[in-house]
Amino acid sequence: MVKTYRPENLQEALRIRRETHAVPLAGGTDLMVRYRSWAGTLPKFPWPVLFINHLTELKTMGLREDGLHIGAGVTLSEIEREMEAPQALRAAVSEMAAPALRNLGTLAGNICNASPAGDAVCVLYALDAQVVLTSLSGARTVSVMDFITGPGRKDLNDDELMTDIIIPHANFSHVSYRKVGTRKANALSKMSFCALAKTKLGRIDDVRIAFGAVGPTVVRSWETEKKLLGMDADDLKDHLSAIHDDYDAMIHPIDDQRSTAVYRKQVSLNLLDQFLQNLVKEL
């Protein structure tokens, strides 16, 4: 028999988490699928479950000094409707699932899933998003890319709960988010691409480029992005093939049932080239 807990408040949730290491379930849209059984029997959780979807402390969302804070209990639908949320994130959230999933599922759950194919995670990488991990001993903040350590693996201690996601302030003049799937909505993507750039006086002032589902984790390179900073249209034109080659060397997708490695790689580079060429035109 599975043990389940329904704490009254966050403090109690953290205590139960420390004492039992019960697995937190907010929306449940991932866990209920993963531990489902087939035809007529009940889901089979291999561990105790801690319900946190009703905790009001986790349901806040709003701008603060360090950026947009999204509580771990905030649903994807609520983020989609939040005007302060970055455009690319809202697009990713609305395309990733049908309303009945968005209405239950949370971004925190999506991050904890640690899937290299998570569409929202690709965008969060590009946005430099951070997560707040809280336990009875205190809280720590880590970047999403440090939090996700591999497919399905994450830096979460067994007494911690993810309580908040922080998206630092930033403005972009160029936003490109593409989810390439077999079908549009409600499908896992073959690959996703998120590129953000800000230009100032004809030069690149900020740029972030992230590729989802092309490696064990989302691919993003500070080194290459740094090269792009300060470039004007001519510089960028001269460096198009070098940048292309940089990413070519970094992207190592696999074959799976949704796509082939060779396709994922080619499309990643096609979308990169297109983004950079458009940038050249608009610089």
Binding site: A39, T41, A98, P99, A100, V180, R183, N186, Y263, Q274
Partner: protein, 957 residues
């Protein structure tokens, strides 16, 4: 644990297991409209409820999440028996057909309209983006929302829902609500799962992990020792009988090549053992306690592997013939392996099981060699189609119970009578000991023609005396179900410079998988439903079907036609391109037309001599003209995005209307004491509206409103025989039987009235609303006639009866046009426009006919572009759910999607009607292949036409 929440306005306290999901809870508490189509995949939406007013999937919700919250189920939409505005609008728009998750759709749209009384098309798409609908596609939901929106402002709002036909008729050809629409959209008891009594047992199946193996040992002792396990059935204790599972008429053109369980397993997912237990949990526990030892054999998965000289033999058993055995049979069987069992062939079908050949067919007209030598250009191309799934929303289900010594089967089937025959055969009892009750079918599409689980469910109940339920999981649906036969089709076309075709050769190599269900007829259909589209004096075909170890195949809407059409119509496009001619001109030069004699059909009987047929009605000319206009044929379109190229394509298609000479339908109709009518039809309405067709025919003939005619259909105890709903036979065969039964009753009514009025019968006629009028001015109401005939000294209840058979054919035709955008960076293909123009003779239910066309076209767009049952190199299906399999959802709808009815009046069809549904599956693949070529100059010759294949063909990978 104890859960307090509010359901549909009532505070409730439930006792639940802490890990129970909310769909499970609601269903067992009687909220039966909250169904499950995906085993908690969060995809199909049949389990949609509102939680505090917003839509969620109940199957993904744990009971721990609903404490103190408010739940609304589709039951909340009703006021008493009255449908809500959106529910009624859905029925009126024709979008409720098989209707399994129609209640969920109504709930979603109702929530949308509450939020936004004037929703945009995008808002409707978003609201329904988590709802899967296979039967009608999604197009008519927009219309339902429009109607509901207006009726919310003005309850009397009326609009033209669909064009109407035949001014000379009152109900036939007119838009009328489907007669079971209300009960389906309301979520009332309708499906097999709704008939299950408390205390019923569960059957679960242990399935083979190997693609090809002998079971060398199977130990069920531990499983049988588990308290609550009632029986374990294996190849060691099952009935020792071979029987056909194809659900066809007897004698079947499919071999009997399996028993209930076999010592040899032939695909991953093949039956190994069935457990019958008190609960699903005990059944699962018992499954894991069965110990099986396998001797694994090399396996084959493709036609090419099956053809190899040293190929492993899938069916290496003793071959027997019920008729027409070859002289060398004894010698042939010398190499047979007893562990492989038997292959019992009913009559010769060119089978050679020991060389993996399940069936074959060969034929020709004219002289093809001569034809090719006269050609200026000859092209030869090979096309491949993939294995695809029917994916009904209601997964396969069977519920059996005993009534004394009789087996009662509640079935979701297309073939109640074949099912009765096959179950009786399997159990070794006579047919009177079996009763099949066809319930509403939550999607069939062919897969509910095959007998996939009813035999073992019936036997389980027969053995244990207990009611037994077997309900497939979605995972089982992918490995234990009939699918479309993969085919490799080579087409050779010879043509003059001007595009006149001088010779056609078609070589069809089909993959039937482990068993030979439909192994002759599906592949033959690839020829018989495509070659007659072209008028060419020289034609030849070779059909060969191979056994392999892929998951089983069988019937699927369109049967062989979608594959034959894909090959032949794409080849026609390739020929036109080769000749530098316009495809539409080439089609026009060669196509079938009114009055054509289809000589090739003489070689294409289903295992018997065929008959050439004349085309008595053909709407291709108006269909092609109108379609070309709609899509601006010949005009090259430019996209805003420089990386996107646009192209247009077309295909002409055909089907049949049942199987003349093979199909047989019966009906009777009785006058009740007040002059209303009870119609008993053998027809199996699988959601398409066949019952509505039958009622319309009876009401039309008897001059009454449809409300005066009730129908019972598909119950083997209470309705007369019918071969079933397959091969597009519903309207033409079952409908004709209802029409002629009503005609027969009409004679009875007139002769009774003549006797009562003492007037000559020639002076009498039926008149609306339900009376007999005489040229003398005398009148008798049906009430008066019924009172008189059923009085103490009356002549007895008036009954009409008909059995309908025919040798005449009524071919439906169609032209499908597609416009696609192809993205050169990603290879993505988007269908911008899809126009399906179809001639179904007189459209009997115009709005339902449109729904069938939308549904068939859209599912075949899915087959063409997305759907894929990937197998790994061990034959394990990598797909366990609808999401990964890739069924098209509302977000994939063509931007502009139109189904158009092109009426003709067929002399053989009832009220001029022909079939409409199956043919809709035949156009998408070739129309899209031709459009892709027009866009970017590449030919994609295999399904699915993925972005990868596009980039590869473009040389980008």
């Amino acid at each position: 644990m104890k859960i307090s929440c509010t359901v549909n306005g009532t505070p409730r306290v439930f006792h639940a297991e802490p890990h129970e999901d909310v769909q499970h809870l609601l269903k067992r508490e009687g909220y039966i409209s909250v169904r499950d189509s995906d085993d908690a995949e969060g995809f199909a939406g049949s389990d949609t409820i509102l939680l505090d007013g917003i839509p969620v999937y109940a199957k993904l919700l744990s009971v721990g999440q609903i404490q103190g919250r408010t739940i609304s189920t589709p039951e909340s939409l009703l006021s008493g028996r009255k449908l809500s505005v959106i529910q009624q609008a859905m029925v009126d728009a024709g979008v409720v057909q098989s209707g399994y998750n129609a209640p969920a759709a109504a709930l979603l749209l109702s929530e949308l309209l509450e939020r936004d009384p004037d929703p945009s098309e995008a808002a409707v798409k978003d609201a329904l983006s988590g709802l899967f609908n296979r039967a009608t596609g999604y197009q008519q939901f927009f219309q339902a929302v429009e109607i509901a929106k207006e009726r919310m402002k003005d309850p009397d709002y009326a609009t033209e829902i669909a064009p109407e036909f035949r001014d000379d008729l009152r109900v036939v050809g007119k838009v009328r609500p489907k007669i079971d629409g209300t009960k389906l959209v309301a979520g009332w008891k309708a499906f097999v799962e709704d008939m299950v009594e408390p205390g019923s047992c569960t059957l679960k199946m242990l399935r083979s992990p190997h693609a090809h193996a002998y079971i060398t040992d199977i130990d069920t002792t531990a499983a049988q020792a588990i308290p609550g396990v009632l029986a374990v059935i294996t190849h060691l204790n099952c009935p020792d009988r071979y029987y056909g599972k194809a659900g066809q008429g007897f004698p079947e053109p499919s071999p009997y090549d399996s028993r209930m369980f076999n010592q040899k397993v032939r695909h991953v997912g093949d039956r190994v053992a069935a457990v019958v237990a008190e609960t699903p949990e005990i059944a699962e526990q018992a499954l894991s306690a069965i110990k099986v030892t396998y001797e694994v054999l090399p396996a084959i998965f493709t036609v090419d592997e099956a053809m190899a000289d040293d190929a492993p033999i899938v069916q290496n058993g003793v071959v027997e013939y019920m008729a027409g055995a070859p002289d060398d049979l004894e010698q042939y069987n010398a190499s047979a392996e007893p562990k492989d069992g038997k292959v019992v062939i009913q009559f010769p079908i060119h089978a050679d099981p020991h060389r993996n050949i399940a069936a074959g067919a060969h034929g020709s007209i004219g002289d093809v060699d001569q034809g090719f030598s006269e050609a200026d250009t000859v092209i030869e191309r090979t096309y491949e189609t993939s294995q695809i799934q029917c994916t009904p929303l209601e997964t396969h289900i069977s519920y059996a119970k005993m009534d004394g010594d009789r087996v009662i089967l509640h079935a979701s089937t297309q073939v109640p009578w074949h099912l009765r025959r096959i179950v009786a055969t399997a159990l070794g009892i006579s047919e009177n000991k079996v009763r099949v009750i066809k319930e509403r079918v939550g999607g069939g599409y062919g897969s509910k023609q095959d007998i996939l689980l009813e035999d073992v469910t019936a036997y389980a109940s027969f053995l244990t005396g207990r009611p037994v339920l077997y309900h497939y999981s979605r995972k089982e649906e992918f490995i234990g179900n009939s699918t479309r036969h993969p085919m490799k089709i080579t087409v050779r076309l010879g043509s003059k410079k001007d595009g006149s075709i001088t010779a056609v050769y078609m070589d069809v190599r089909a993959n039937t998988g482990p068993y030979g269900n439909h192994c002759l007829t599906v592949p033959m259909n690839a020829c018989s439903k495509s070659l007659p589209l072209i008028l060419c004096p020289n034609m030849k075909f070779d059909v060969t079907t191979y056994y392999t170890n892929i998951p089983p195949t069988g019937a699927y809407q369109g049967y062989g036609a979608p594959k034959g059409s894909f090959a032949l119509m794409t080849a026609l496009g390739e020929l036109a391109s080769e000749l530098g001619l316009d495809l539409l001109d080439v089609i026009e030069k060669n196509r079938v037309r009114d009055g054509s004699l289809l000589e090739i059909l003489k070689c294409l009987g289903e295992g018997r001599e065929g008959t050439p047929a004349y085309v008595k009605s053909c709407g291709l000319e108006p269909a092609l003209t109108e379609g070309a206009n709609m899509i601006d044929w010949g005009v090259k379109e430019q996209a805003d995005d420089p990386d996107v190229m646009i192209g247009k394509g077309v295909a002409i298609i055909q089907q049949g209307s049942g199987l003349p000479g093979l199909d047989h339908s019966c009906a009777d109709i009785k006058m009740l004491a007040d002059g209303s009518f009870m119609l008993h039809s053998g027809g199996a309405d699988l959601g398409t509206g066949l019952d509505t067709v039958s009622v319309k025919f009876a009401a039309e003939v008897l001059c009454v409103d449809m409300g005066q005619v009730s129908i019972l259909s598909g119950d083997t105890d209470n309705t007369p025989f019918d071969t079933g709903a397959y091969a597009s036979s519903g309207t033409f065969f079952s409908g004709s039987a209802s029409m002629f039964a009503a005609e027969d009753l009409k004679k009875e009514i007139l002769s009774s009235a003549a006797a009562i009025l003492k007037e000559p019968v020639e002076d009498l006629a039926l008149a609306v609303p339900g009376k007999v009028v005489s040229t003398s001015g005398a009148e008798l109401t049906y009430w008066e006639i019924a009172q008189e005939t059923q009085a103490g000294l009356g002549r007895g209840q008036l009954v009409g009866y008909a059995s309908f058979t025919t040798e005449d054919s009524a071919f439906p035709y169609g032209a499908h046009f597609a416009q696609v955008s192809v993205n050169r960076l990603t290879g993505e293909i988007h269908v911008d426009k899809y126009y399906a123009l179809q001639d179904c003779g007189t459209p009997i239910n115009p709005e339902l006919a449109l729904g069938q066309i939308y549904g068939g076209s859209f599912k075949s767009i899915g087959h063409t572009l997305y759907e894929d049952m990937m197998l790994d190199d061990q034959g394990v299906c990598q797909v366990t759910g609808l999401r990964d399999y890739g069924v098209p959802m509302i977000s994939e709808l063509p931007t502009d999607f139109k189904a158009v009815l092109v009426p003709t009046d067929d002399p053989y069809g009832p009220f001029g009607g022909k079939s409409v549904s199956e043919i809709s599956c035949n156009g998408a693949a070739p129309a899209i292949a031709n459009a892709i070529h027009d866009a970017v100059g590449i030919w994609i010759r295999t399904w699915p036409m993925t972005p990868e294949k596009v980039l590869r063909a473009l040389g980008n990978i």
